[in-house]
């Protein structure tokens, strides 16, 4: 270890080793991160809320002792929709301006219990409505690989911060791909756990039947460590599952010889960039070399996933976001004449375009006269999508696809056309509808030097297998070691 080694460029497991040897202190890590942020953040805009004095103070206040937790002294960034007690948590929305939750999300409690240091909050699409982090009230986050491009979304701030070494790792949330797609576009690792694996308590709800908190990291080992840290049953979230949490980090190191991996033909359709297709095919070849048995399969209802999602997710969002009405927290419009006037003006001023559009769409899908044709029908087609996966997993241990049909696109390119933007989630949405775990790992670059991601989908509560495939692939390739030139 040289004195010049920048600690912010390392992974959590590397830092855990150095801390345990006593070579470095948590303050050293914190300082390197602060330096990086001071140099880089102006051009990235990956962070929504960051106070370096507070971060340093938290570092200094870490409890010493024999029972240092697994993540003792490791700094972590948190997406702006995950509640941290007495710290700004605004979903990057004007309507939650100034909001400081009176309690911690369960995932945050778990991280603090094992000594992780909360650094700050990352930028996101407003209320996680988006695939590009352009709808944030704090302005767009930029992709570290090309500052003219989007980092993906909605956890674009988390993915960009990790990719640019402003963060060691971060938490994101994934409702339709919001961890995996930005991880793919920023060249980092992102994992959406099985629905119910991680408590949603304290995650400000977007679509309650789809939302999951998950890790965004520099490598697979860190994803395993962070997933274990936040997983488990929580009595504060009745949809969290009472199923034992595996020791992911030791299980990833087993080989993948003989594992059966399905390649669904619906994920290699027209509209998928050729460079993306080629990279995924090479990755499949690599998995075969490692001993996996890859075979074609089909998920016939894939083409309906975007339609189902934008009815189900918006319907749930319209209900969840009814609470932002100017009464209990956040913004209240001024010069109001009545209660109704207060609701309408507060929501007019507080929500951005995409939030308004989704709330109206969801309200429409649930409204009398349209409920059966839209919402109810979407829930039935969701059953078909889930059955596709049930059937495929009778034969396969995992499924491999591209994470996103294209690499990162230009800022402004899709923002004026919501439908085109929605279609960028085409390969990630199904996992949320079916409730299964999925992750994205780096698997190549386009000629323009933009990252490409490989998506690995698994059986419910079998994060072990997708992490193991990801780890074995990662160890045989070098993609995850490449860093953006900033």
């Amino acid at each position: 270890m040289t004195m010049n080694m920048k600690l912010n460029t390392l992974t959590a497991h590397e830092l855990i080793d150095l801390l345990s040897k006593g070579d470095i202190s948590p303050i050293d890590i914190c300082n390197d991160i602060i330096n990086r942020i001071e140099k880089q953040e102006k051009s990235l805009n990956a962070l929504a809320h960051f106070d370096k004095e507070k971060a340093l103070e938290r570092c200094k206040n870490l409890k010493e002792g024999v029972n240092k937790g697994k993540l003792w002294g490791i700094p972590i960034f948190i997406k702006d929709n995950i509640s941290v007690k007495d710290e700004l948590t605004t979903c990057s929305s004007k309507i939650l301006k100034g909001f400081k939750p009176p309690y911690n999300a369960t995932a945050i409690e778990k991280l603090m219990d094992i000594g992780a240091v909360l650094m700050g909050k990352t930028n996101m699409d407003e209320f996680a409505f988006g695939s590009s982090t352009e709808t944030s009230c704090y302005g767009p986050t930029r992709n570290p690989w090309d500052l003219e491009r989007i980092p993906g979304g909605s956890s674009g701030g988390s993915a960009a911060a990790v990719s640019a070494d402003e963060a060691i790792f971060a938490l994101g949330s994934d409702t339709g791909g919001s961890i995996r797609q930005p991880a793919s576009l920023c060249g980092v690792v992102g994992l959406k756990p099985t629905y119910g694996r991680v408590s949603r308590y304290g995650l400000i709800a977007f679509a309650s039947s789809l939302d999951q908190i998950g890790p965004i990291t520099k490598d697979v080992e860190d994803a395993a460590i962070l997933l274990k840290a936040i997983s488990g049953h929580d009595e504060m979230d009745s949809t969290s599952a009472d199923i034992p949490v595996s020791d992911y980090s030791s299980n990833i190191k087993k080989g993948i010889k003989g594992l059966k991996i399905g390649i669904p033909k619906e994920y290699f359709i027209e509209g998928v960039d050729k460079e993306v297709k080629d990279s995924i095919k090479l990755a499949i070849g690599e998995l075969e070399k490692l001993g996996a048995v890859c075979e074609d399969t089909c998920l016939p209802h894939t083409e309906y996933a975007v339609s189902v999602y934008y009815l189900v997710a918006t319907a749930e969002a319209s209900s969840n976001l009814a609470r932002f009405d100017g009464v209990q927290y956040g913004l209240r419009a001024e010069n109001i004449t009545s209660m109704m006037d207060m609701y309408k003006k507060t929501r007019k001023e507080g929500f951005g375009d995409e939030a308004k559009r989704r709330i109206i769409l969801g309200t429409f899908a649930l409204s009398s006269g349209y409920y059966d044709a839209y919402y109810s029908k979407a829930l039935k087609v969701r059953t078909l999508i889930k059955m596709d996966f049930d059937k495929a997993f009778e034969k396969f241990d995992a499924i491999v696809t591209p994470t996103s049909p294209t690499a990162s696109f230009k800022i402004g390119e899709k923002i004026s056309d919501p439908l085109t933007m929605y279609l960028s989630d085409i390969f990630t949405i199904s996992a949320n509808l079916a409730g299964i775990p999925g992750m994205s790992i780096p698997c190549g670059f386009t000629k323009a030097n933009l990252p490409i991601g490989l998506q690995i989908l698994g059986k419910p509560f079998d994060e072990d297998t997708i992490l193991r495939i990801a780890y074995n692939y990662e160890q045989s390739t070098e993609w995850h070691k490449k860093k953006p030139k900033l």
Partner: protein
């Protein structure tokens, strides 16, 4: 057309969002295109399918009906834009 200007206006009112004429115009076109896209769901026969509103195989989750400590009122109310005597303060609702 799947949705028109009047329906968007009516729905926005249900959602308690005031829209400008420009927004109304804009959203109507966009929502119409989105609804035209999701129309592909109508090509599927779903008559014998059960809806999936939730993926986990669980029904009601119960706990003991016992009194627990809750957050202090001052903490709960501290974010309110307007408050008085530990209450949320809103414009007058009841006509006099």
């Amino acid at each position: 057309m799947a949705i028109n200007r009047d329906t968007v206006k009516y729905t926005a009112n249900l959602a308690r969002i005031e829209l400008s004429d420009k927004e109304l115009e804009h959203f109507t076109g966009q929502l119409d295109r989105i609804l035209a896209y999701v129309d592909k769901l109508n090509t599927l026969n779903v008559t014998n399918l059960k809806p999936t509103s939730h993926v986990l195989d669980m029904k009601n989750v119960y706990r003991e009906d016992s009194v627990r400590k809750s957050l202090p009122v001052a903490d709960v109310i501290k974010n309110a834009p307007n408050k008085e005597n530990n209450l949320f303060k809103v414009p007058k609702i009841i006509e006099t």
